[in-house]
């Protein structure tokens, strides 16, 4: 799925004013996602190839939440995912791209979403265990954290991804889970949030990965719910959207990271869900489909899926239910 942005804009640009009471333009979004992969005549299509497998996961998830799981052909989806796999079990973003944690996680998430994990074990393929060991080998035995690939960059995003994929594969036993949990704890800050590594400022995306990892590990008891709940709820700004850090602009994707974190710690009611819903709906392009980071900006599949997932978590009618983790 291409990460090429536009053509539409949140709020439909300056051409027309949106009505106060907005609906979700389901058919427009389905069509938007379906046509993303046809835009090979745009340079951005090629410049974003290093994100393609994640893009596919985002598009596919959006379609499932919208109730149109059939909108992408299953066999082609599986074939593309498998074409990204390397001998070591890991996956790259597209054929010819090196294996990396992020795309390995996307591959597993895609296959799990369409109930095709067994495809990994077909004759001639690397098999689930090999995928599991690719991920497990990226854990640092000393600190418990995870690298993205052999080059060694570490980030709590990779740790969360590892736990997520291994739990889908039922292979969590391959790693040192207590060490991973204690690494997450070492990233905790006084405000209850978590940073990208020990000592780093709290950040909504990183909070999602850390709380998500603790949820998978069954250790949500370690979260300082009162402090974190306060920090997260203060992300909502007047316009209804949520930002990712204090004094930053609101953004649909951060709205999702914050919202799902609030859900995981049982504090979803600490923000105004109706206002957030209205903000997300204002970020749609009602004509060409897709959702932008905020009204007036270009749409893309990344913000489209997180906007729809946010609406689903807010129980917007007609959407499939999303799992906050």
């Amino acid at each position: 799925m291409s990460l090429v942005s536009g053509p539409g804009r949140g709020g439909g640009g300056a051409k027309h004013d949106l009505p106060e009471e907005l609906a979700l333009f389901v058919d427009k979004h389905v069509e938007y996602i379906q046509t993303l992969d046809t835009r090979r005549d745009e340079l951005e299509y090629w410049l974003t190839e290093h994100l393609r497998l994640s893009g596919l996961y985002w598009g596919l998830t959006a379609l499932h939440l919208l109730g149109h799981p059939e909108a992408l052909p299953r066999a082609e989806t599986i074939a593309f995912v498998i074409s990204c796999q390397h001998e070591n079990g890991g996956f790259g973003a597209a054929p010819g791209h090196d294996a990396h944690m992020l795309y390995t996680v996307s591959a597993i998430q895609i296959l799990a979403t369409i109930d095709a994990l067994d495809e990994l074990d077909l004759p001639g393929r690397a098999g689930k265990d090999k995928v599991g060991s690719f991920i497990a080998n990226l854990q640092d035995p000393e600190t418990g954290t995870f690298a993205g690939d052999e080059w060694g960059e570490t980030d709590t995003r990779f740790l969360y991804g590892a736990l997520n994929a291994l739990s889908l594969l039922h292979l969590l036993s391959l790693i040192d889970l207590p060490a991973a949990v204690s690494h997450v704890q070492s990233c905790a800050n006084f405000d209850g949030g978590y940073g990208v590594s020990p000592g780093a400022e709290s950040h909504a995306g990183q909070i999602f990965t850390c709380v998500g990892a603790l949820a998978i590990a069954g250790r949500l008891d370690l979260v300082d719910t009162d402090r974190l709940g306060r920090w997260l709820s203060e992300r909502q700004v007047e316009g209804g959207g949520l930002n990712g850090r204090p004094e930053k602009l609101e953004d649909v994707c951060y709205s999702w990271w914050v919202l799902s974190s609030l859900a995981m710690i049982g504090r979803l009611h600490w923000i105004d869900g109706k206002k957030l819903e209205a903000f997300i709906l204002r970020c749609q392009d009602p004509e060409m489909g897709g959702i932008a980071d905020r009204p007036g900006d270009m749409v893309d599949v990344f913000h489209t899926v997180f906007g729809i997932a946010g609406l689903s978590l807010l129980k917007y009618p007609g959407l499939e239910e999303v799992d906050p983790i």
């Binding site: 410049l47 070492s186 000592g199 400022e201 009162d226 007047e238 004094e247 905020r294």
Partner: protein
């Protein structure tokens, strides 16, 4: 990454004229040819400076293409370990190559990953006298990036990484780095009070500074008082700025809460350990300040003042139940919570919970 804050006029095919379209198609062809060429060279293991410069051209077109960065590191590794290799110029040329890319792509993870890798190579391959200046000039680069965007998350993160390594490299003089980083955070705070990234760094390095100075109990107490009076003055300047309130909360919750000193997590260490009467003293002082701020008359619509009154009003009775003045009455706390419900309806659910005593900060 995905488009963030991109209001640019659509470059989509809907808007493209025939000429623009032809131009874009030509660009695509050029780009794809270059990708194909580089991939071919890598398959042939042609790890030469010629391939390296083709990679340079490709990464200049697309600095987020992570696989191509991996190729670059493969070639550099080969060149760094070949006979007659000159590691220092090789590493420095690469650091220089990254510079303009940082300015055009300040949020690209790939660039920081590669920089960090180059620094690690310098530690492995160069004598300490040569790698040290490289690390020091990296801090200057961070300052440049942070002066362009003082909230740049990557810039702060990379700065922390570099300075942590420097602390180790400087051995017994590592404390100077800690002091310098604390000073840097302070300067960034002074330049813009609402920069929470700088406040966060100030909190993190502040704890370290005390350790480096081997501060005793009275020095720690003085440091705490100094921070408290600084943030209090700042609150009088802008009581609507949440960055300030988060720092204020940090100072008081890590020292005066019934739960403090808190967990052993390094980033949650506290400046000083206070006795219950001391906690009670600083909480009373804080409550007096907050009441004074309210009495000044300009902040009646500022929810942060009421939030703080609720938190510390409740806390003071808990840290020292034997206080003569009896702390703050429940009725008054409920009054402040009522104010919060009116002033801050977005978080009505939180204030409702707080009224029931659920989820209050402590």
């Amino acid at each position: 990454m995905a488009s963030h804050g991109v209001p640019r006029p659509s470059s989509s095919r809907l808007a493209r004229t025939g000429q623009a379209r032809a131009k874009e198609l030509a660009k695509i062809e050029e780009y794809r040819n270059l990708v194909a060429l580089v991939q071919e060279k890598m398959v042939e293991k042609d790890y030469t400076t010629a391939t390296l410069s083709q990679i340079t051209a490709l990464l200049t077109l697309n600095p987020e293409y992570s696989t191509i960065w991996n190729y670059r590191r493969l070639i550099l590794t080969h060149l760094l370990h070949s006979p007659n290799s000159k590691p220092q110029p090789l590493l420095q040329t690469d650091l220089k190559f990254l510079l303009p890319l940082h300015l055009t792509h300040p949020k690209a993870y790939t660039l920081y990953t590669h920089r960090h890798w180059l620094l690690q190579q310098s530690l492995l391959l160069l004598p300490a006298s040569s790698s040290l200046p490289i690390f020091i000039s990296e801090l200057a680069l961070c300052s440049t990036l942070l002066s362009r965007d003082p909230r740049n998350f990557h810039g702060w993160g990379y700065r922390r990484l570099v300075s942590e390594e420097l602390v180790g490299m400087m051995r017994e003089k590592g404390g100077e780095v800690v002091e310098a980083e604390f000073d840097y955070a302070n300067r960034m705070v002074e330049a813009n009070l609402s920069n929470f990234s700088a406040w966060h760094a100030r909190a993190a390095w502040g704890i370290r500074v005390l350790d480096v100075r081997r501060a005793d109990a009275s020095e720690r107490l003085r440091f705490f008082e100094n921070e408290l009076s600084l943030i209090t003055r700042a609150l009088y300047t802008d009581p609507y700025d949440q960055s300030l309130w988060f720092y204020h909360t940090y100072l008081l919750l890590t020292t005066c809460s019934p739960k403090s000193p808190p967990s052993p997590s390094p980033s949650r260490k506290s400046i000083t350990t206070l006795t219950p009467p001391q906690k009670s003293h600083y909480l009373a002082q804080t409550l007096a300040t907050l009441r004074d701020l309210l009495d000044s008359g300009d902040v009646e619509d500022c929810k942060w003042v009421f939030e703080a009154l609720v938190v510390y009003g409740r806390m003071i009775g808990r840290v020292d139940p034997g206080r003569r003045d009896g702390g703050v009455g429940e009725e008054e706390v409920m009054g402040w919570l009522g104010k919060l419900e009116v002033l801050d309806p977005l978080r009505a659910g939180r204030w409702k919970d707080w009224k029931r005593g659920v989820g209050v900060l402590e």
